[in-house]
Symmetry: C2
Subunit: 142 residues, 2 copies
């Protein structure tokens, strides 16, 4: 039976509502600093594995496969808390990150640029230095 709006919004049962493509977007925060690190996507299997293993596990839409964050770089995300939003179509993870970086470009967070004040298209960098060199960390990747 389809859950009611009340059960979804005010209930205490996890009733994830995956989108048309069977994905659920997932905002991932650093558990210590509260900084937003990235937005990933999970399918049902990725969410189950995340809950079971305590390691953030996403579904890569480009590679079309389950992906344990850190399996290539070693920068695993250890899940401290899993939140869900009002209509249960978005997750929020609080994680401790091995190595302190979550962006494949080398920065701590994927959100390292912001729109310059007064500009409609010029970005400025808010993180000045990369935490790692992606050429070294991903040297074994194809």
């Amino acid at each position: 039976m389809k859950p009611t709006v009340y059960e979804i919004e005010e209930g205490n049962k996890l009733l994830p509502r995956f989108d048309l493509h069977e994905y659920l977007p997932c905002i991932t925060l650093d558990a210590d600093t509260g900084e937003v690190l990235m937005l990933g996507y999970m399918n049902k299997e990725a969410l189950e594995r995340t809950i079971e293993t305590g390691l953030a596990t996403y579904y890569s839409r480009s590679r079309k496969k389950i992906w344990v964050k850190g399996e290539e770089s070693g920068f695993f995300q250890h899940v401290k808390d899993i939140f869900i939003d009002d209509d249960q179509d978005t997750l929020l993870l609080k994680v401790k990150v091995d190595g302190g970086a979550s962006c494949h470009v080398g920065y701590r967070s994927c959100f390292y640029r912001k729109l310059k004040a007064g500009s409609k298209e010029e970005l400025e960098f808010t993180e000045k230095n990369k935490v790692f060199d992606p050429k070294i960390v991903y040297k074994h990747s194809s």
Copy 2:
């Protein structure tokens, strides 16, 4: 000409990459506390209006229309910063919220529940009290 990966990831020009449905997910944070308030979606027009007006403007996928956050509740979101992620397919907004609430259920944040430790499906509430009564705030809505 299609921008290169380098231009997208390392460049200083906003080159938003909307998804198949012409949406861009947008994580919205409270500019003062850093708390994640919600995940919304923008299409090209919503992003342009957000930049031009300084008021967070989303595209409602359910109502299929541009939606200035707060137009019904009065809880407008005043944009302080607009970040974009590495591959420019996700936005992050830092906002000041009139009234201090961003969730239509009445809570400050949409992420007011988390999975109970050790459980696979039981949620616990992390916000105890609603900031407003949606029945009163949305009384003029259909």
